[in-house]
């Protein structure tokens, strides 16, 4: 792995961290569920870096959290979060970035906007929830449908982030095409 790749991986890990400092937005018509910007970073890592480096960026971020940096949204961090009910989502993040990067690469012929939206939705929502919901079910002793119901409240917020990911990917593809590493 070249040093340049390491810098890129660290860059997206830092982006996920910086997005965690953006205060959560509660949207009234969604029942006041707090929406954080953090998974936007996970989607972007996969879409921009491609599968392997994207997943490594998320892993590096989670490594820092485990070491004790309070980088998760709401200033959470440390080993405690890996004991919490949402640990399945954290496990799903690197896999989600991996899948998002893979989708981005295999839809190379498509327009960046469309391709990034599909990649972010499949990797950042489908895959992440496929890990997150069983995680909630195990950690909280709930049945899968109940766990899904509890997790579903976050999906509208995630759809907003899919749109943002697609817009950012397209902007960067125009302004700094070399930075869309998943396609170069």
């Amino acid at each position: 792995m070249a040093d340049r790749s390491l810098v890129h991986i660290a860059f997206y890990a830092a982006l996920i961290a910086a997005l965690g400092l953006v205060p959560p937005v509660s949207i009234a018509f969604l029942g006041g569920v707090p929406i954080t910007a953090q998974t936007l970073g996970v989607m972007l890592a996969g879409v921009m870096l491609g599968p392997v480096r994207g997943a490594l960026a998320v892993l590096l971020f989670l490594f820092l959290v485990a070491l004790g940096a309070p980088l998760l949204a709401g200033g959470r961090g440390g080993l405690g979060v890996f004991m919490g009910p949402s640990v399945g989502f954290l496990v799903g993040w690197p896999v989600g970035a991996l899948v998002a990067g893979w989708v981005m690469q295999s839809t190379r012929e498509m327009n960046v906007l469309v391709s990034a939206a599909i990649a972010a939705a499949v990797g950042g929502i489908l895959v992440v929830y496929a890990f997150g919901i069983p995680g909630v079910a195990i950690m909280a002793g709930l049945s899968l449908p109940k766990a899904a119901l509890g997790s579903a409240i976050y999906i509208p917020g995630d759809l907003v982030k899919v749109v943002l990911t697609a817009l950012i990917a397209q902007t960067v593809a125009r302004g700094l095409p070399g930075a869309v590493l998943s396609r170069s």
């Binding site: 792995m1 040093d3 340049r4 390491l6 810098v7 890129h8 991986i9 660290a10 860059f11 890990a13 830092a14 982006l15 961290a17 910086a18 400092l21 707090p34 590096l60 971020f61 490594f63 820092l64 070491l67 004790g68 940096a69 309070p70 980088l71 709401g74 200033g75 959470r76 961090g77 440390g78 080993l79 405690g80 979060v81 890996f82 004991m83 919490g84 009910p85 949402s86 950690m139 909280a140 002793g141 709930l142 049945s143 109940k146 766990a147 119901l149 509890g150 943002l164 817009l167 950012i168 902007t171 960067v172 302004g175 700094l176 930075a179």
Partner: protein
């Protein structure tokens, strides 16, 4: 620096990071097998006693529970809906104990010590031809990049506010993405010019 670490010189601070990690791993394995409310209440008391042994600042760390309250209440509500409220109470109790215990390790161990304790885990990377020092270098880069990104964004936002009067806009995303990506390219060049991660002196 950004860390959960709480300054101090208590018994918990003096314990080796590796032992603390091992202890919390074993404790969570045991707690997952036990299902008695009394055992959880006893371990909750023990964990709170640990926090109390750090003094007033230690007890203040229990504020962690406040940020968890939303999720915990949601879990209780779901259990109540499925008619398993008793199970729900036990499970929430278990989660609280495990989270507090793991967090106790994080607040009494410096980030550097933690990094050193897990460093041997990266030794197998050497077999794959990747330097085992790369994860540590990655950590250092992240810790430097994150505040820089906030700075770049802050400057863009101030300029935007001066021009338009409004505080924030999605229009800042494009210049932010491009400026901070350029910065990372410069860092990559600088790292290469200094001999890369292999050239770093230990």
């Amino acid at each position: 620096m950004i860390s959960l670490y709480l300054q101090g010189d208590s018994w918990a601070h003096r314990l080796r990071a590796g032992w603390k990690l091992l202890a919390v791993a074993l404790a969570s394995l045991v707690l997952f097998q036990v299902v008695s409310v009394w055992a959880y209440l006893a371990s909750l008391a023990a964990v709170i006693l640990c926090y109390a042994s750090l003094g007033r600042e230690g007890l203040a760390q229990l504020k962690l529970l406040r940020s968890l309250s939303f999720v915990l209440v949601l879990l209780l509500a779901l259990h109540w809906l499925s008619g398993t409220l008793n199970d729900g109470v036990v499970i929430v109790l278990r989660l609280v104990v495990m989270i507090l215990a793991a967090n106790f390790v994080s607040i009494t161990t410096r980030l550097d010590d933690m990094l050193e304790a897990v460093q041997p885990l990266f030794r197998p990377l050497g077999v794959l031809g990747v330097s085992p020092r790369k994860p540590a270098l990655g950590v250092a880069l992240v810790l430097r990049f994150a505040p820089h990104m906030l700075l770049v964004y802050g400057l863009l936002r101030e300029a935007w506010q001066a021009r338009t009067g409004s505080r924030n806009s999605w229009r800042l995303l494009a210049p932010f993405a491009i400026q901070s990506l350029r910065m990372s390219d410069n860092v990559a060049e600088a790292l290469k010019a200094r001999g890369g991660s292999e050239g770093l002196s230990r």
